[in-house]
Amino acid sequence: MVIYGVALLAFCTIAGLYVGDLLGIAIGVQANVGGVGFGMLLVILGSTWLMRREGITPATAQGIGFWNAIYIPIVVAVAAQQNVAGALSGGAVAILAGALAVVACAALVPAIDRLSRRRPAAEARPERAPVAS
């Protein structure tokens, strides 16, 4: 049922954010430390476990799939309510940070590529394996 998927997501989100808050308190910072990341880990572990145990029905997957698909529109909504007028005064920092990150990482592609080429086992990938989705 669709609600199972949504409920699973809701549980993982709340549990992840709770862990993030607890971690923040433990370290003594006024922050949610990695909560969303923990939530994502829970979704991966939870869905893999369910898949092995009794399988996830298409309807259940739909409940998750909707929110998965709606995330770019939600990011648009996030963007639409930021203090852009205020940020524009320092806009160069954003453009430079983004652009230089790209340049630096692109320069590293050949190096890391070579690093893995010494291990032939890591090569010769098959076509993208059928994912259970």
Partner: protein, 253 residues
């Protein structure tokens, strides 16, 4: 007219869906017609969102962009912390642990180097521009990851909306640049095989940028690049507000 505005304000979340839907529709139209798909519709939509936030800020003099106009209260709800975290976490579904293993050593190394490297670059630029507090440096560093990691990290560690907007703009710059420049850089960095595409995806991380850029380079490479790139935002959301934030705090005292 009064009655219409009443209905909209009473059903603000639905109005938010309609407004964002219209923005996305318009953006994909621009993407297809004006850039022939070269710049991904999602990147244009986020840019339009930022422009509307700017207009909202100028019109009302407020700090919450479009959301300062009561008619657009639904946009605030839709892009608020609760649904934002919920939707981002939903993207983790379908990630198979077996797939993580398949990405192999090079994929893992490229992901770690990509997240930490971009974070350092973004944070260093922030430092050069005069930001000194750990929250600002971390948020900017996270923004240099992707336009999702920036706001998630900023919100988690209590950054100002201004900084979050900057971090989104940084991530957006990255996404658009990867999308448009990849075909030109491909030969220089040897990007012509699946293995390199996976390394590329892990280093760049912006899924929309990587899939758009690889599609323009060689469509056969898209799934390989996207496979590693999909782990990037999750890894960034995990590392930036935790280990990396603490590292910045320790460094700045």
């Amino acid at each position: 007219m009064r009655a219409f505005i009443d209905v909209i304000e009473r059903n603000n979340l639905l109005a938010g869906f309609a407004v964002i839907g219209a923005i996305v529709w318009l953006s994909y139209l621009i993407s297809n017609r004006l850039t022939r798909g070269r710049v991904h519709g999602s990147a244009i939509a986020i840019f339009v969102g930022l422009v509307l936030a700017w207009i909202g800020g100028v019109v009302t003099g407020g700090e919450r962009g479009l959301a300062d106009l009561p008619v657009f209260g639904g946009v605030a709800l839709l892009g608020g912390a609760m649904l934002r975290d919920f939707a981002v976490i939903a993207t983790a579904y379908g990630v198979d642990i077996a797939e993580i293993k398949k990405a192999g050593v090079s994929g893992t190394v490229s992901l770690l180097v990509g997240v930490v490297g971009s974070f350092i670059v973004g944070g260093a630029i922030g430092w050069i521009f005069g930001y000194r507090d750990p929250v600002s440096i971390t948020t900017l560093g996270a923004g240099a990851n992707t336009f999702i990691v920036g706001p998630i990290t900023g919100a988690a560690i209590g950054a100002s909306s201004e900084l979050i907007a900057l971090s989104i703009a940084a991530g957006l710059t990255k996404s658009i640049l990867v999308m448009t420049a990849t075909p030109f850089a491909a030969r220089v960095i040897g990007l012509d095989n699946p293995q390199t595409a996976m390394v590329f995806g892990g280093l760049m991380g912006t899924t929309s940028g990587v899939s758009g850029g690889l599609a323009a380079t060689d469509p056969k490479l898209v799934p390989y690049g996207a496979m590693t790139a999909t782990f990037y935002t999750g890894l960034g959301c995990l590392l930036c507000p935790s280990v990396l934030f603490l590292a910045v705090r320790a460094l700045l005292g």
